[in-house]
Point group: C2
Chain length 192, copies 2
């Protein structure tokens, strides 16, 4: 039987990673990709995908340059199906977890898990959990004191999963709210 392993992404995985970034679960809102969203069961729908895929500005070249240069802006783990011996097809990347190092002025180094995704036909096998556990391992190895992520409020399954693994909902517990400046506001501020 085929097995799944989690490993560090290599530069040649970028095409696979981008393929998965481009697929949106049904019910996706504009600009609403978040950690754990892909873990839950909503099936992808091609129409939804075609409607939203124009919002994905990232390219394979950008992923290669930003994730695999000397000073990478992100790091990535992939979940790879390894066929049992005798099966013809080779390993296949069916999920990923993309993270970067963040910093707390109270606690120092942290990891921020930006994105976690498992292809629908491979869900329910604990692959998402395996990815998160591997991220926790990396965090401890790198001297990080926390792993943070964001989830959309309608994504109860993902929130339940994180809570079951010991995460706290900081928006609920402490009232944290996320803010974003987009390019237009940035240019206005920078006087461009």
């Amino acid at each position: 039987m085929a097995s799944t392993r989690i490993r560090e992404a290599r530069e040649r995985d970028c095409a696979d990673i981008l393929r998965m970034i481009r697929v949106k679960p049904a019910g996706w809102k504009t600009e609403c990709r978040g950690a754990g969203s892909g873990v839950v069961g909503a099936g992808e729908e091609l129409a939804e995908y075609e409607q939203l895929s124009h919002q994905v500005k990232i390219s394979e070249e950008a992923l290669r340059a930003d994730g695999f240069g000397e000073n990478p802006f992100f790091h990535c783990l992939v979940a790879e199906v390894v066929p049992a011996s005798g099966e013809l097809q080779g390993p296949r990347v069916v999920g990923y977890g993309l993270y970067y190092f963040s910093y707390s002025t109270w606690k120092g180094r942290n990891i921020y898990l930006e994105d976690i995704y498992v292809m629908p036909q491979y869900r329910g096998q604990g692959i998402g959990t395996k990815i998160i556990k591997k991220v926790a391992e990396v965090a401890l190895q790198k001297g990080c004191s926390q792993v943070r992520l964001a989830v959309l409020d309608w994504n109860k399954k993902a929130m339940d999963l994180y809570k079951s693994l010991g995460a706290q909902d900081l928006t609920e517990a402490e009232g944290w709210r996320s803010f974003r400046f987009e390019e237009e506001a940035m240019k206005e501020m920078a006087g461009c």
Copy 2:
């Protein structure tokens, strides 16, 4: 008259940065330091400071190692008061903005503004706004498409400031919630 300038932090600013990290505005909740909090006017109170300062695990050495090595985990701007000629005292660091590069799988490179702080006696002069504007400038120079940050829900002044500068509240607009795994949960997950 003295003027204020915003410049990149140097390694020798770490003592000043740590001094400001350690000061907590009154009304601060446990683990609740966030961008913009120091911009608003709540005066620091020594008792509050003494109660909470034990939670600051970061050291000057950690700031030096993590922010000023080859692969820095964060970057920092400082606000420095430059005395007018004839005044005796030298420049003094009275505020800071600490950020790191984050990554969106839709949009690529971003900046996350972790912390922004201005000493109470220097507030109301637009120093916080100057720091944010400089962060926006850096973000554009580095090819970032967004600047993100988090604010506590009771900190209306900071939220109003960010909104006035063009930021969107993503928790309100899209329902984003922040989650955190702490060390115990990480160890549990990593099987330590």
